[in-house]
Each structure stands twice: as C-alpha cells, then as structure tokens.
Amino acid sequence: MNVDVNAIFQIAGIGIIIAMIHTVLKQMGKEDMAHWVTLIGFVVVLFMVVRLLDRLFEQIKSIFLFQ
C-alpha cells in the first residue's frame, strides 16, 4: 500500500517536471523535441498505470472467483 502511495506522488512529480521541460523547450523553439519528451513521459506513466491495473484485475478475479 505504501509503495502505491509513493508511486502516486512519483507520477505527479513526473507530470509536473515534464510540463516544465515542455515549456522550456517550447520557449527555446524546439517544439518537436518538447513533444517527444512529453510522449516518452506519457508512455512511462502509462506503463505504471497498466501495471497497477493488471494487479487490480488479478485480485478482483481471485475474489469474485475467476471470471
């Protein structure tokens, strides 16, 4: 449980920092690289979410007796 709560703040931190990097890069004029960075960050976070979703569904399946 504690690991998950840390993960929540991790995602929030990553989101904020990526938003800032996006802004800085956009001001430098390298807007396409900004979009790449955002996309990579999104993929990383997506991986984390999907992993959690998998864990959740495993548990639900075991509780409600194997859908």
Binding site: N6, G13, I14, I17, I21, G41
Partner: protein, 171 residues
Amino acid sequence: MLKLAGALLLVGAGTMLGWMHAGRLADRPAQIRRLVRMLGQLETEIAYGYTPLPEALARIGRQPGDPLADLFHEAADRLAKEEAAVTETWRLALESVWGRTALKNGEKEIMLTLGNTLGASDREDQIRHLRLAAKQLETLEPEAAEEQRKYEKMWKSLGLLGGALVAVILY
C-alpha cells in the same frame, strides 16, 4: 535519508551539466574575439617582424592553459618536429585542439581555409588572407552572442529539470 541524498546528488549533477553547457555558449563570443586578436598578432609578426612561421606561431602560443593559445603552440610544435606541409600540420593541430574550445564548425571552416594559404604564398598574400579570416570571424561573433543570449538560461533550467526528472523516476 540515503535516498534523499542520492536524489539531491542527481539534481545537482543535472544542474551542473546544464550550467557547463550554458558556459560553453557564453565562452564562444569571447573566444572568437580572442582568436581575431591572435590572428592580428600573427599578421603583425609576419608583416613587420619578418619572423618565420614556426617561430611566430610559437610566440603567440606562449600563454599556457588557453585552448586557443594551445592551437598555435601545437602547430608550432608539429612544424618544428615533422617536415609535413604547413596545411596538413595546421589541420592536425586544429583537430587535436578543437574539442577543448567552445567554437563551432563555422569557425573551424574559416581556420581550415586559412591553413591552406599559411606558409604557402608570399608575405602580402598571407597578410591579406589573415585579414580575411579575421573579418569572417568577426561576422560570426554577433550571431554567437545572440545564440548565447537566447539559449544560456534555457540550458541551465533544462539541466536542473532533467536532473529532477531522473531523480523522481528512480525514486
């Protein structure tokens, strides 16, 4: 506790990387100006001192530690040791020193072209080419200053943010 120290270290390292990159951008206009001055010194040596090329180069390259001075010093060294053509020696010296300067390809092209005429033609011609190279470098300087102004702060922030990002991911 240890994790926090590690994270701070990462952020610090990222910030330092950003600062160093910004420093290179800041160095470039100053180095261009100094290079122009040194070419002027070379011109003076050749025009009024009637000094042979290797000696002139060695004299200018005397200040230690400065990568630009090292260029002249290196060229003088190689000329004294190997009997290769001046153009080739100049090019080799350029290649070996360039990594330590903050200058970019534009300047390198100008210096390479200069190497083609150094020691290959008569005094008047060499002076003309030296002046030409100096003028070309001068035109590059405002562009370098502009680039510095635009990107210096950006690289500093980018370094900090990048370090913070890696720290958060490896949390």
